[in-house]
Chain length 177, copies 2
């Protein structure tokens, strides 16, 4: 059985969606997802970068992130034909460990927690596919990287790209002819 | 550069040492490490198994585990010739996440936290070597498993075995001629 490793933030959990909502509310802002396309928080507004770190260090912030549309259904389908692992770069935000674990158990109860991986450098992941919004994880990954579109990676080229979970379903469907 | 993945409990952290001390103190017992050789807590005394789970669920328990003799020195040496990752089955004890992270940062400050992996099923680990006291992790591991002797695995055969960190040093030294 082949194995798919799947990132959390911006792939199955809508971190930026919640972050933008809270940022705009706290700073009386009106930043849209579209304004983030291909940019960095720092470039758009240094205040956004500062607030980002506040969110990352708040253990509660990760607890109620919205689930990406169709991710539950598609991952459940894929789990019948593939071994599914969730691989998140949690070592960058140690405060998030427990909240991330609970979030996964709540929203993906059909996955075995023995298949959750909290890591930093994802080159340690032995899988056939890695679905991630951050292309840096593909550099030393031996399997096939699949870039999941997020506002920040919008203009990156040279990767297999999926824009949503329906496209993930199609990608793996096409592999099986 | 080849990569060594190293388990935590019973390999670099002396979980059983602290556990036995606390068990004997709490239950006015006199169980020795020798009595654990090749057995299971449950077989020796069902109370030990119950107390084990209490320890595993106590986030503070992992915070001050003794460091295995020579592990810091040998890992530091190995880190000059190998990529070192710490891979612990933390998903079995989610309460331990933060304490394990802090313990690693305290006792192995020369390791990069991006090389810490909290997982369950270690078949996800892509490394050339895995030093572990639990041989079940070697079954689907593609690299070379190295069984680190603990009281519970004392009589297991069929694996490359090291009894202490000086033997780990010798093992890797012999590989390099």
């Amino acid at each position: 059985m082949k194995r798919i490793a799947i990132d959390m933030d911006e792939v199955i959990a809508d971190f930026i969606g919640k972050y933008l909502l809270h940022f705009n509310r706290s700073f009386n802002g009106s930043v849209t997802v579209e304004q983030l396309h291909g940019t960095r928080f720092q470039e758009l507004d240094p205040q956004m970068e500062v607030y980002l770190h506040e969110c990352l260090e708040d253990p509660l912030f990760f607890g109620d992130l919205p689930v990406m549309p169709d991710s539950q259904e598609v991952i459940r389908e894929l789990s019948e034909r593939y071994e599914i692992f969730i691989a998140t770069a949690a070592m960058e935000v140690p405060a998030s460990f427990t909240a991330k674990y609970r979030w996964l158990k709540e929203h993906f109860p059909f996955l075995n927690e023995m298949n959750f991986v909290f890591c930093g450098d994802k080159s340690i992941i032995d899988a056939d596919y890695l679905i991630d919004d951050n292309s840096r994880h593909f550099k030393r990954f031996k399997g096939q990287g699949i870039l999941y579109t997020s506002p920040l990676n919008m203009y990156e080229t040279g990767f297999v790209r999926v824009n949503n979970w329906k496209e993930v379903r199609e990608y793996f469907h096409s592999l099986n002819g």
